[in-house]
Amino acid sequence: MSFKKFDQQTFIIDTANAYTNRQISKRDFLRKMGTAGIGFSAFGLGMLGNPRGLRQGSMLGTQAYAEGLPDDQAKWLKEVGSKFKGAKIRYSTEATPPSVVLNQIKKEFTDPTGIEVEVEIVPLEQVLAKATQDVQGQLGSYDLYYLDQSWISQFQPDCIDPVAYYKDKPELAMPNFDWDDFSKPLVDNIAKVDGKWMGIPFDIPIFTLMYRKDILEKHKIAVPTTYEEFLAAAKLITEAEKASGVFGTGLQAKSGHYSLECDWSQAVWGHGGSIFNKDKKFSGNDPQGIAGLKWYQELLKYAPPNSTASTWDGQFEMMHSGQVALVQSWDEFFPGLDADDSKVRGLWEPAKPLTAKVLRPASEAGFDEQPNLGHQGGSCISLSKYSKNREAAWIFMQWGCCKEIMTRCTLIGGFAPMRNSSFADPRVKAKAKVGAGTTRHLDTVKWIIDNAMATEPHMPLWAGFSTNEIPTELGKLLTGQEYNGDPKKCMDVLAAQIDAKVKDAGLL
């Protein structure tokens, strides 16, 4: 199920347990339930005699886990923020955990500052479409953009450099924001284009290996560490478990969707290839690229047939319902697998991504592409040049990305944080056990971010290529519509298309 359940679940369970074990009084129990947004109004809370009021947050889980913003930041928020009281800022985002959590706790921002925040949560394709429309006409309908890393090159001209802005406007700067705390690889690959900042890293779904330890034990398979081992293991499991309908692996191979492009590019990188070579030509059709594609085609045989109609949420469903045993995909899935009503609770384990025999060095790849082991799908949050409420939006952006709030988001959702301090925070480490909102995969994720993060090329046409041309042709190949299963034909066609467009745009 969606990650959203864990936050509330965990808090309620913990509190209920505490009450049952007589660790807290009935009054405390009711008060905590109240802060979780259940039944009681603020007035009622007041009646129950909550002396601290709701300063420290009125939403889920926060009272149990939160320590509130540090005093200097809270003071800044109130003083500087309330200058813009009454402003309304808006941003459009995909329903990834950090955004959803921010949407839930935004009241903590609105209360001291009086700035209203409206978060429009839509599927990823719509986010791109609406952002594109907005910048085309410089409409300013959004104050902040949520930009997937594959689009940042395209939108860079429309965003304000946050670090420069921070320096230029000290009167609006949040004290102790600590820019250096952000994980450097994330900054370089999600928030910078051509060495210039254009946003603040916001979320980092990244490929990691995940496996069902019970199924692997049952068939006495060791956790695969190479692409060949993975294929062999998937094959074994699928054949052995034919009767019970369990498959070795599940893929997000939906035709024409970005998810297929992600799977494909990882396969290519893992076989020593890259998407563009250093001459800025498409190189998915060179021997390494073909080897990767062939591997993927082979893998598809051992995945549920529905893979070619599934994006990441279909893949998650396969994992969650117990249909598959081994997956190399987004780490964001992990907390959801441990949810309370999950059939597979506690059965999935994280592992480092598969290793490649040889990786193509970044110097051999074009457009700042970084072939590596863990495909990242991170996003940043950016301030729009066309925003009509620039200062108010800037204040919200700083608040949303400050240490405390980002750590809190991780606590609530169990997903990988952007800041090194969040990784090290004791509250986060405390949740590294099986259960909703678990953080037990975060050590693996941090390792991947620091050592094995792979990034797609950054160029203005990439958003289109990765969501249209590439997954469409791949889809034709994988579903048998064209090319007769011949990967070279498919890649050659794609190369022709892409090279022509790149040349035409004058980027060669």
């Binding site: 047939p305 109609a309 249209n468 889809g475």
Partner: protein
């Protein structure tokens, strides 16, 4: 004012020439004031955007600088050589024709079935209109769930009946994806045809049928020789309206398959959508849409002339 007219008209003589208070085209006798508001709305929000889209189609977009350069033949030339466009045209026509034939046939058959005054048939006819009021985007999601390769009730049903292999999920196999999308459309719009046919059937005069019965004609003969010809005018209009809508189909394809697998279900409007939203190439997307409009106008004009449709 009324009495003035009265005096003028009551005498059966040509009315004296009055000096008009308003110029003629503003009086309520002239169509102008009646049509002006609606014409204004259509021109402002229908014609102007269309002209803008046409103007846009003559520009070539530079994705790096985002500036559009005047280059009239770029997009139109691209259109004619783009394989996907021709594939889309094929799919669009295929989809339209198959859907029309099935919806018409089924619609007529079901109308004949439900055309009875017995008890309960009224309720059956009312229930039959339900599919029409579901938003197409919702219908798409409904069928997406039901046709899901692993968990869908329809897929599982077909598999357990041995009619379908689980290795080829319906919406993910290029051969059957179009059929899956068609299923949603047929479910939603056959009731439309049913309603129309029903009305047509109910308006048929009884005499010819009674005469035919006396002459000893069978039910089938009466149907072919009498019913069909008398319904032809209605059928023609229904086909025109439904056909135009089918040609512009977007919701089902977008929600269920997103033009996939590969491009097996890509129609003209869904391709325009892809170019618009994913590649942000607005001029080219405009070109494709205008081309679609052009095809619709041509095809329907041919149809109207051929079948002498009147409205």
């Amino acid at each position: 004012m009324v009495s003035q007219h009265l005096r003028a008209l009551a005498v059966d003589a040509p009315a004296p020439r009055r000096r008009r208070a308003w110029p003629q085209f503003l009086t309520s006798e002239h169509p102008f004031p009646w049509l002006a508001p609606i014409t204004a709305v259509i021109v402002a929000f229908g014609v102007y955007p269309l002209l803008y889209a046409l103007w846009l189609s003559f520009f070539k977009r530079n994705p790096v600088t985002r500036i559009n350069v005047f280059y009239p033949t770029w997009n139109w030339g691209k259109l004619l050589t783009d394989d996907r466009v021709w594939g889309a045209i094929g799919h669009t026509y295929l989809y339209t024709i198959i859907a029309l034939v099935i919806e018409l046939g089924l619609g007529l058959a079901i109308a004949l079935l439900l055309d009875s005054d017995r008890k309960g048939y009224g309720l059956l006819r009312a229930l039959m209109t339900l599919p029409l009021v579901v938003p197409p985007a919702v219908t798409g999601m409904m069928f997406l769930l039901m046709l899901d390769g692993s968990f869908g009730v329809l897929s599982m049903g077909l598999v357990s009946l041995g009619l379908w292999s689980p290795a080829h999920p319906i919406l993910a196999s290029s051969g059957s994806a179009l059929a899956g999308v068609l299923l949603a459309d047929i479910w939603q719009w056959t009731p439309f045809m049913v309603l129309i046919m029903l009305a047509g059937l109910r308006a048929l005069p009884k005499e010819p049928f009674e005469a035919a019965a006396i002459d000893g004609a069978t039910a089938t003969q009466a149907f072919i020789r009498l019913t069909l010809p008398m319904l032809s005018k209605i059928i023609a209009i229904a086909v025109l309206i439904r056909g135009v809508d089918l040609f512009r189909i977007y919701d089902y394809v977008k929600v269920m398959t997103d033009s996939g697998p590969g491009t097996a279900t890509e129609t003209l409007t869904s391709y325009a959508g892809t170019i618009y939203f994913k590649n942000a190439d607005f001029p080219y997307a405009s070109t494709i849409s205008l081309f679609t409009l052009f095809l619709v106008i041509v095809t329907s004009s041919i149809f109207i002339k051929l079948f002498k449709v009147q409205f």
